[in-house]
Symmetry: C2
Subunit: 352 residues, 2 copies
DNA sequence: TTGAAAGCGCTAACAC
DNA sequence: GTGTTAGCGCTTTCAA
């Protein structure tokens, strides 16, 4: 049983392959309805399905976009970027070729070559941690960077607006009356771009609020497990009252989870005794903590959409800011923030 | 600047395209070394890269496998299956086409057609929750089911061995001396296959241990959030001492997280006052709980590998058990299990 | 040992 | 309006 081809349809319908092609590709403006309908009917009757490979060879378009990512499994929210990219691709009749390189440059190179050889119509290069990344050799022009920026620029890129996100988080704390706000920063190599950006946002809000930043309030922690947060927050909470923070802004939700634990071990209630804000809005964590964690969401889905839309030409690539689009990170208010406890007065001279 | 093709290489090397093809495809057994080397040198010099589309049209093989999944973003461990499938594909020179259908049958149908039209060499159909699934129309023979089984059979499939996994979990509890072991089951529609299987495993272990199962010890909970676990475990823990369990086997880690919370609110220590075992070994949750949760791991990576290996013919499809392969779920021992507290004696007549 | 020629299934000039 | 023809870039008989 042979596959049915365009010739079979043509023969059955008593027309030429050209006519079939014209009809089936919507170019049937100049073809009478009777012919058109007959061709269509025959096509479905005999179960004709065009061979995309042949079409691609002829048209030089594969309707396929490749998504190259350095890692996909290590971070659970990464899937949202893939999901978004896939959704947009599908909306526009494209298919997604997924390649995972584990950050290995050789694999990356090979992947790019293989993809090029397959004539993909475009690529999106996704980094699962916001970073400046080396551009793989041979990466075609127009490739969109997702959650990372290419060293040297030259490609459109989308990243979370970590600075603004951090500002929203810290502002929330300031608005509640906190003045001693600690920042548990990422203490691991390589330091994520986000680390610097969020710290900047943190300082900026303090500055605007007229709060003198206390450098001792910025501590570093391992950000991969809650244990890092336990240690860092513990150190902060064990300080004498005057030097102790009343609120902690954490680099991510896992660190915040550790901060919760450190607080609990010391008999401190959240948010009455200590306010905590996280970052990431990590699925199954932020909302599930007790109390639910106020945090800043990373717009992975939106970034994924943006990247694919730009790659597909649906959205224009940004011309300003070196081609980098900053996606807003919304503050998610839950129940881990409250005004500071009364027994922690504002620094000397500022009391009522 | 035109793409360089096989003809260009042939011309530069002073041979025919046939020879180039032969050399570059390793069929060069009968071609003298000098010719071979020259062809290779010229090819790299002028940067020749074969056009896979043309090759596919000719050979009728695309070296592409499609992974269709009903949903990818909703469950964070799903990525491991995708990752595994991609890894295996790459190991064998294949690329992965990823399609997400959100469980929509129309989308599924369309996707299968599009994939067939693209001449993919095979498909893997992944379900993100172990279930019996309707086979999409037109799904080609040989498609492998991943984490789900096709209604009606007829396709190779791999699923977690939930029954054995549950047995390992409950056995762990029995070994520690527990006799009043509760099971917080999934209380949502549609009831996952895993629910029945794990309950069976639970009952089987009790039976073998000579423990009369107490039906009141099986309660249902919403399994999507920790809140469901809080309520179910709370109800269990508020019972009078004689009817209260000393250990809880939870349908998943999120429920276990809720059980932790319910216990803590009642001043109960884990594992001294209450032992808890989860299921899933969910990333960033199980290991991060305080104390770290003993649980059963879902072998997503292994299942993903298996599926792709079978699809690629590297592994033979199972002939027994209706083509379904059961992947072992290892017990991950952490710190949430201990012997029951002394004040809960074994049922009357069984004391020392 | 190498080359000529056919053709994978389709689309698009161009002719009629 | 519709058909003829010529490829897209490669592999693979078959012949030399």
């Amino acid at each position: 049983m042979k596959r049915v081809g365009i010739k079979d349809v043509a023969r059955e319908a008593g027309v030429s392959p050209t006519t079939v092609s014209l009809v089936l590709n919507g170019q049937s403006a100049r073809i009478p309805d009777t012919t058109r309908d007959r061709v269509r009917r025959v096509a479905t009757e005999i179960g004709y399905a065009p061979n995309s490979v042949a079409r691609s060879l002829r048209t030089q378009r594969t309707h396929t976009i490749a998504l190259i990512s350095d890692r996909i499994a290590t971070t659970p929210f990464a899937v949202e970027m893939v999901q978004a990219a896939q959704d947009v691709a599908r909306e526009h009749g494209y298919l997604l070729l997924l390649v995972n390189t584990d950050g290995d440059h050789d694999v990356e190179r090979e992947a790019v070559d293989a993809l090029l050889s397959r004539q993909v119509d475009g690529m999106v290069y996704a980094c699962m941690w916001s970073q400046v990344v080396d551009v793989p050799a041979g990466l075609p022009a127009g490739t969109v960077f997702l959650d990372g920026r290419p060293a040297g620029g030259g490609f459109p890129a989308v990243m979370p607006d970590d600075r603004a996100g951090a500002m929203a988080a810290v502002q929330e704390l300031v608005d509640q009356g906190h003045t001693r706000i600690a920042y548990i920063d990422a203490g691991e190599e390589p330091v994520p771009i986000a680390s610097r950006l969020r710290h900047e946002g943190y300082l900026e809000v303090l500055r605007r609020a007229g709060i003198e930043p206390d450098p001792s309030l910025r501590v570093e922690a391992s950000i991969t497990t809650a244990a890092g947060g336990v240690a860092a927050a513990g150190e902060l909470l064990d300080r004498p009252p005057a030097q102790r923070p009343t609120a902690i802004f954490c680099f991510n939700d896992r660190v915040a989870m550790g901060a919760y634990r450190a607080a609990r071990h010391r008999g401190l209630e959240i948010p009455t005794d200590l306010s905590v804000v996280g970052y990431d809005d990590q699925q199954f964590i932020a909302a599930e903590l007790d109390p639910p964690l106020t945090t800043v969401a990373l717009p992975h889905y939106e970034m994924g959409r943006w990247a694919m839309q730009v790659r597909l030409g649906v959205l224009a690539a940004p011309t300003e800011n070196d081609g980098v689009h900053l996606m807003p990170c919304p503050l998610i208010r839950r129940e881990s923030v409250a005004p500071p406890p009364a027994q922690h007065p504002a620094p000397a001279g500022d009391g009522e």
